[in-house]
Symmetry: C2
């Protein structure tokens, strides 16, 4: 089958929009038209072929967001190879592992990452390091030269089941695993999203999440396929976002809550700062309720969406839509309802389906799931059981089909025989006016098995004692869920490349010499 | 592959909306909830199995629109059989042919059609005629008894490539051909449509086009799958539509232009008559420009859509959207832009792709096309050539990707060596204030090969001569396109079940003893 392949989306869009703007790098101000974009994508494929990369071979990218990043993605989707987009936070050991595990021989870098890649080149078994842009940094080939010498090639249409993305999931838990996705999964994800969130040639889509992340995928694919103008922010920072909003008036974007929070907390922030969006999607990590309410109050006319999903599902499984955001109340605690094409269920440890209201593991079936974890049949078999993908998230569905997440299964704390969902405790702590950041973890306890610990960063100039914060939480949550202790930190909590708090790193020092059981 | 099957759409919708209204028959006022609907669909499948109909066996329906029609469709889509929805205008000979050609053994009828089906029962080889509703009419089984005795059965999920609809195309050209469609084609059609035209559980979808027609298909599938309330009008008539609009305030509907025209021309019509729709889709036959302008002026807040497609594509290939309708001008002459997932091209007789602006045959590739014409490998091979479906429509694409139709290829008139598109002449004639209805055909002419003839019905009380109408046309179209003669008729032009003028029937008496060459 050939219908759910990117040839069928991008090529008609180019034909219909040849001279219209396809993509702009907001850092350099460079814009390519659709015709220019396709020409550059074709040359990129020619260049990949000249480096020995065929349709099923992997190539990697480690650069800031850029036009070239988009071109490399589209090159892969038109049959130029399997793209391996590297997490910019990967440590050298992780990088070497990921490159070797995937059999990647060609890596595209920019001046920011060339040295790092060079330092692992040998260990990773890389043959070519292609430098995008200028820079006096180690590399083997120059991207501009390569493209100038290459003939544009658009390979024949492949099959829906051709692998096209190998995306290693960020290191929040253990060594990264390669998520292998095919054309069909990526296109169905884009279809499912576009049955809710529409864009067309009048849209301007701002990509500000890192392009290695699954959260960027439907913008990477869906925007250009609809003739939309894609504006690419090389690297998120609040001032840059506000500048881009002013300059390009983007209509659609995806942000993680941390990005929204940082932008709205910036000293130069005014409502115009995020004021051009007709649709704003957030997701990938929990949204603090106070921030969400502030956002909704400030932008009553913007359609606000929450996305829930994961790399393994090419990104989105459920959306909480604008109507629910405007209705407020209990809906603001929901993660949304499944997209058309996605079926959700809640299962217990034996795989029994649980009725509405009962929490268990969130499971899903849909056409947008990965083929497998690359070279990991056991890990693959562990997540796909009886035809259902097991997300590792704990949650429940209500009778109306809304999904409520209670925690990551592995972040759930078992204390004195009771299950405590860390996010619930975090929400309570976060409501204390002095608290800037909080993460709740379980630490070993002889008395309780695990004890609830809250790690807190206070707002600048604010003060609060352990006793005050615990007393505050007592108003919001049951006694057995209260933090047994609070650890105050002066520096920000460690974040993953996707800007999630790295609880694994927070837990590590406490669990040295102990073994933690995770369901 | 099992993702693009209706199990994955309907069953979650039922789980999320069990006690909400699923469907209402506006004639009887009966409403079923989603839970009741699924129970009845399950019993219908049980009943089909008791009559010997398995997953790949055909069963037919010849009834007015009804709840049972929706249940029978959904029974087919959940693995209960292949549904053969019969055109209510089929003549006995056509019916007998269609039933025998398809190998249909079971036909569902209501009191309106029971006698007709009985009259062809033997010739058709029918074994069971199931009567829906009451009536002292010939039948072999009663639907209510059958359902009461049946156990609800929901068969296991099938495959995307399982055939599910065998829809014989209306008799506008030759003997009807069976269009065999699978789950995947029907679901992709619904997906493509829903990437433009959204509905959700807050929508109320009015089905007023006949349910045997492809134009009803995305309402049949997509509405219930999104938790929308489906209101079913048994049989179109203008007064009934206005009553239903008042009573149920439907938000979405599909109408053919004739239905819109008849409703707006009704003596009791007021703007409230079609006033509840947020989205109104028209299609299936050309829209007179004056009517469209009247509709747009009267309903500036309604999103008006034009659909272009055919039974072979499970219905829709292109939409002309609300923005274009509001922009007006040249856009009102367009048939729209291809839906996401659909690729269009214009080809000459040798299959060469033509550049923007040049008219030729409209060709398409998309996941929503039929498997084949049932038992007609040659007819199938004739329409699918080099991977493109050939629509038989003449048209061109502009540089922006808008499709403009000029005619059916077989309605094109070759006169004195020049191609004349009949619709262009019809548009000119229709602008004469005395003209109610017009159809333009080619008739044999020794001098010209074919001569242009306009068949005209005048408005009540209006008068016009042949000379006056031709003189009027001279202001709008080139001399060689002018009608050589006008035939005035007192009675309305013959319409197909889909309310298209039957040009074949108009041409027949003129062409007796002549052979007409069609490209």
């Amino acid at each position: 089958m050939k219908e759910l392949i990117y040839h069928r989306m991008l090529l008609p869009a180019v034909a219909q929009n040849a001279d219209r703007p396809c993509a702009t790098n907001s850092g350099t101000g460079v814009t390519t038209t659709f015709a220019e974009h396709l020409d550059r994508v074709g040359r990129t494929i020619g260049a990949l072929q000249s480096l020995g990369v065929g349709r099923s071979d992997r190539f990697a990218i480690m650069t800031l967001n850029s036009l070239e990043y988009l071109e490399l993605y589209h090159a892969a989707f038109l049959g130029g190879g399997v793209v391996n987009p590297l997490n910019l936070r990967f440590a050298p050991k992780e990088l070497a592992y990921v490159l070797r595990d995937s059999g990647t021989k060609v890596c595209f870098v920019d001046a920011f990452f060339a040295k790092l890649i060079d330092s692992v080149k040998e260990e990773a078994g890389l043959e070519h390091v292609v430098l995008i842009g200028a820079g006096d940094v180690p590399h083997t080939v120059n991207h501009a030269d390569l493209l100038a010498a290459a003939k544009p090639v658009i390979p024949d249409e492949g099959e829906e089941t051709d692998p096209v993305v190998l995306m290693y999931t960020g290191g929040t838990t253990g060594l990264p695993k390669g998520v292998l996705l095919d054309q069909r999964a990526e296109l169905l994800n884009a279809y499912h999203v576009m049955m809710r969130l529409q864009f067309d040639r009048n849209s301007t889509n701002l990509i500000q999440t890192p392009m290695f992340h699954a959260a960027s995928m439907f913008a990477v694919l869906g925007g250009p396929a609809q003739g939309a103008h894609t504006v690419i922010l090389p690297l998120f920072d609040p001032a840059a976002v506000m500048k881009v909003v002013k300059a390009y008036q983007p209509t659609t974007t995806v942000m993680v809550p941390t990005m929204i929070g940082m932008t709205m907390a910036h000293p130069d922030f005014t409502p115009e700062g995020l004021g051009s969006f007709t649709d704003l999607v957030y997701g990938a990590s929990p949204m603090p309720q106070a921030l969400l309410e502030k956002l909704l109050a400030l932008y009553p006319d913007t359609d606000i969406w929450q996305g829930y999903g994961m790399t393994e599902s090419s990104s989105v499984l459920a959306f909480l839509g604008p109507d629910e955001h405007r209705a407020g109340g209990k809906y603001l605690r929901a993660a949304g309802r499944p997209l058309p094409g996605v079926v959700l269920s809640i299962q217990d440890e034996e795989g029994n389906m649980l009725p509405p209201g009962e929490p268990g593991e969130v499971c899903a079936r849909a056409g947008n799931f990965m083929i497998e974890y690359w070279n990991k049949p056991e890990a693959t078999a562990e997540v796909f059981r009886d035809g259902w993908y097991h997300t590792g998230d704990a949650g429940y569905l209500d009778a109306d089909g809304y999904l409520y997440l209670v925690d990551r299964v592995k972040d759930m704390i078992v204390t004195g025989g009771e299950n405590v969902y860390s996010t619930e405790v975090e929400n309570a702590v976060a409501l204390h006016p002095a608290v800037l950041q909080v993460a709740v973890i379980g630490i070993p306890s002889e008395q309780w098995g695990e004890a609830v610990l809250a790690i807190v960063v206070l707002k600048e100039g604010a003060t609060a004692t352990q006793e005050e914060i615990i007393a505050h939480c007592r108003e919001w949550i049951a006694g057995y869920k209260l933090p047994k202790s609070i650890e105050f930190r002066a520096e920000p909590l460690p974040l993953s490349g996707a800007m999630k708090v790295l609880k694994k790193d927070l837990r590590a020092p406490y669990w040295e010499g102990h073994e933690r059981k995770v369901n």
